[in-house]
């Protein structure tokens, strides 16, 4: 493991706030188990649990907390200077951090989604959900890591995207779905195992291409922004 990722992981897990991530996946699994145990029709509990909770809330919120935590937190408290005063090309800083964010998010989200998917339909659905959410984890992480370099308030801006763009507008104006990572994940998972539980809002090629574009684009943007990182004074 590279030194950067080692410090990043220590920073992420070495603080209490990581516990904040735990309730989300736990609730997801609990609800799935409960519904299954009571014999509710998966067609009824599947959409609210898998999509409503899993893909619309747990995935973006975990990605937001982790994605802004790997770099935004360091910028916020100033420790990023220690990493930047090293003769490392900036991609060697961004990529390990992105990898850690993606990995932690993917594991935190994919495992409960896999369990819920298996309980709802089949192992195939579980695996598709896990795989698609890993792709989503990458795209969200790239977005949120880049946001931490573009603004001093990455969490709020990330919330604007998740709550207002994906949550509110995504339901009202269908055009916004083309720029919604959540929709890509749904579309990809549905393609891998068509069950009728997931309702794709964008076509699979669009989802695949856009997810790749967002991941790569924001990563490149983050690397470039880090190259021009300016130490700001204390601001409000």
């Amino acid at each position: 493991m590279s030194t950067i990722s080692w410090i990043t992981v220590r920073g992420l897990f070495g603080r209490r706030r990581f516990l904040l991530l735990l309730p989300l996946p736990v609730v997801l699994v609990l609800l799935a188990v409960l519904s299954r145990a009571l014999g509710v029709d998966p067609g009824e509990w599947g959409p609210p649990v898998l999509v409503g909770l899993g893909l619309a809330v747990v995935l973006p919120v975990v990605a937001l907390i982790v994605g802004t935590g790997v770099l935004g937190a360091e910028i916020d408290d100033g420790t990023v200077v220690h990493i930047l005063t090293k003769p490392l090309p900036r991609w060697q800083i961004v990529l390990p951090k992105l990898a850690v964010a993606t990995g932690v998010t993917a594991v935190t989200v994919a495992v409960p989604l896999y369990v819920a998917g298996v309980l709802a339909d089949s192992v195939r659905l579980g695996l598709s959900l896990a795989a698609a959410s890993a792709v989503g984890a990458l795209a969200y992480s790239a977005l949120f890591v880049a946001l931490s370099l573009l603004t001093r308030r990455p969490v709020l801006l990330g919330l604007v995207y998740v709550l207002i763009w994906e949550g509110l507008l995504g339901n009202v104006v269908s055009g916004t779905k083309v720029l919604s990572i959540q929709q890509y994940v749904i579309s990809l998972a549905d393609r891998m195992s068509p069950t009728g539980l997931l309702e794709a809002g964008v076509s699979v090629p669009v989802a695949a291409v856009m997810a790749a574009l967002i991941s790569v684009g924001f990563t490149v943007l983050a690397i470039d922004r880090l190259r021009s990182f300016s130490a700001a004074g204390e601001t409000s």
């Binding site: 410090i7 220590r10 070495g14 005063t85």
Partner: protein
Amino acid sequence: MTTISADQVAGTPTAASTLDLAGVSRWYGNVVAVNDVSMSLGPGVTGLLGPNGAGKTTLLHMMAGFLAPSRGAVSLDGRPTWRNPEVYRRLGLVSEREAVHTFLTAYEFVLASAKLHRLPDPTEAAHRAIALVELEGAQDRRIGTYSKGMRQRARVAAALVHEPQVLLLDEPFNGMDPRQRLHMMELLHRLGDAGRTILFSSHILEEVEQVSGTVQVMVAGRLAASGDFRTIRRLMTNRPHVFAVHSTDDRALAVALMAEASVTGVELGRAGLTVRAGDYGAFTRVLPKIALAEGIRVRQLVPEDESLESVFSYLVEA
């Protein structure tokens, strides 16, 4: 564990480095933080002096490649520091914010720095840097448990681990107790004597005076003076120089001195004479002659206002 003498680290760097600033300005909107500063920093310890808000931190950030100059260029050995991570092979920075990875121990922290520098033997380099700041006793405790001065030393160790030719320190003595302060001053001295380029900022004159004879004085974003501060003082000829003179016959000496053109005033006190001279050079040349002619022995001649404090207040008021 082998003990490593601190001088080993201070040892001669491979080649001396120079940090050059050419017409550097930096503004934020309407506020000019640094205004057309040019300087060249070579081996030795230099103090960057100025009142709070003079632009010292902004200047240091530009030197360290953490801020683009709005105009002008900052270069280390001819290469720009902005958007050029390679400079950190020869440059170390101890920033003012006391941020450290509090969840690491000092050893882990310094070792991580060594590894990120891709040093051939990071373990050895980390031990050496920690020894240099005398933090061995606490190196396995989490930095979160440290006092302010210890954190500062941990950060200095991390900045020194790759033995940079140039070390920039922003307010390094902040929060240190007198003993730690003394130790840090000695360390900077040693590093400077070994041919490294050391620049540290401070708004406390006493610190700069003890560590360094060479200063760069910033006032309101501009470079007000640079060089040896005693020389700077002498250059300010419009201000009278004040000397305390003690001799075998103060009264007679006072009378003789008043006849000299270079002397603008003499005050006779119980402890001796206070002489104001308009021309530093002329006065110091003429005093021995007068003393010889009058048969007076000068026991003591002390320039009274050559402390950095007075130099500085002259510059700031000018």
